[in-house]
Symmetry: C2
Subunit: 197 residues, 2 copies
DNA sequence: GCATCCATTGAACGAGCGTTCAATTCAAGA
DNA sequence: TCTTGAATTGAACGCTCGTTCAATGGATGC
């Protein structure tokens, strides 16, 4: 447990998580040692265990925190009744969110196999809830006759993969701005679901 | 170097590569030891060094071999002159190839960060050649007035991410057959590039 | 039957791993 | 000023890591 009284180390916990996030994203969970994380924070390795039970918990907390924050953020943004508008909101939200948090995104789909079985199950269930948010939009749009989709489940997987991929190539200094990128992906998405436009 | 004369171990080299491929795909490069690979083959760890210079070379050879085989296979298949037909061929080829070789595909985009810098550069250049094959099709289709694409480079990245994603969820025993999946992805692709159909 | 050869073994190397814990340190409360 | 208590250290634990190499052993060619 972390200390409860005020002190010079009040923010050590978050600093450990930040360092672990950055290092896991850069080198991979298995390739990063507790000593490297500690060095990044400026403490000895043993001190980490006052803030986390073990290395696995550090990874799981990061991934779980990311997915819960993603789901929470989406709930705050989703409000339109029109499926087409909902879909555009989803696409722009997803891209913005993923470009803002490249490290969290990266570890959350690269390090799934390093989760212990029960942690993996928990993470998959959170991911499934996010996929279902998109699936509901697509299903509703099809029912309203606005979308033409041969298989909504495959469309969900295809669209999420397409949109998530943006973080593998986008560079802030590149040819396109964030809003350019949002627009291009929205154009492709709109057409992929057969939305007239 | 491997032995040159005939012997009971003629096929040890390939067996090492197979074991390494399977283990790297399942647990990740950093999490797999040379001793585990050796055990899978049925030899001691030291014996591996008669067939590979070190662990890194084992990874790089697998990834390079995969990309070269992918490029070679595409060259064999690509022959149509019509951009729309070329695109359909590409989509179906990509999905089929990726479903046939899940392990190779998996390590080739999961283990990039575990490559030493010069190996990484070599791999990226092979990947770029594959992306360019698709980009040429899209550019040609736009020039011919068959496709409507606001940014072909983004379209390439988006489409490849979408198509590659199939290997993360497809199960042989699932609801859809391979050719069902090909068809659904081709439908989405066709519409995403604005191809009338 | 003997000499050759080379794939393979098995021990060893130094290093680093995750984790534990008694000892230390030092600010805060009395 | 002294006591308290928790944050942190630093050494130590038993292991596993990638890699090397002298010794081995079993088939091959003479």
């Amino acid at each position: 447990m972390a200390r409860k009284t005020g002190s010079h180390a009040e923010i050590t916990g978050p600093r450990i998580r930040d360092a672990a996030l950055r290092l896991f994203a850069r080198h991979g969970y298995a390739a990063v040692s507790m000593r490297q994380i500690a060095a990044e924070v400026g403490v000895q390795a043993g001190a980490l265990y006052a803030y986390t039970s073990d290395k696995q918990a550090l990874l799981f907390d990061l991934m779980k925190g990311h997915m819960e924050h993603l789901l929470g953020s989406w709930k705050e943004v989703a409000r339109s009744a029109d499926p087409a508008q909902q879909l555009e909101t989803f696409v722009r939200f997803h891209i913005r969110y993923h470009l803002d948090r490249p490290d969290e995104v990266f570890i959350s789909y690269m390090e799934l196999r390093n989760l212990e079985p029960e942690n993996f199950v928990a993470l998959e269930s959170l991911r499934r809830r996010y996929e279902d948010a998109l699936q509901d939009i697509l299903t509703e749009g099809c029912a309203a006759g606005q979308f033409t989709i041969s298989d909504t489940r495959v469309a969900v997987m295809g669209l999420i993969a397409m949109l998530t991929g943006v973080s593998t190539w986008f560079r802030e200094s590149g040819r396109l701005s964030r809003s350019d990128v949002e627009q291009v992906y929205w154009d492709m998405t709109r057409r992929a679901v057969g939305l007239a436009g």
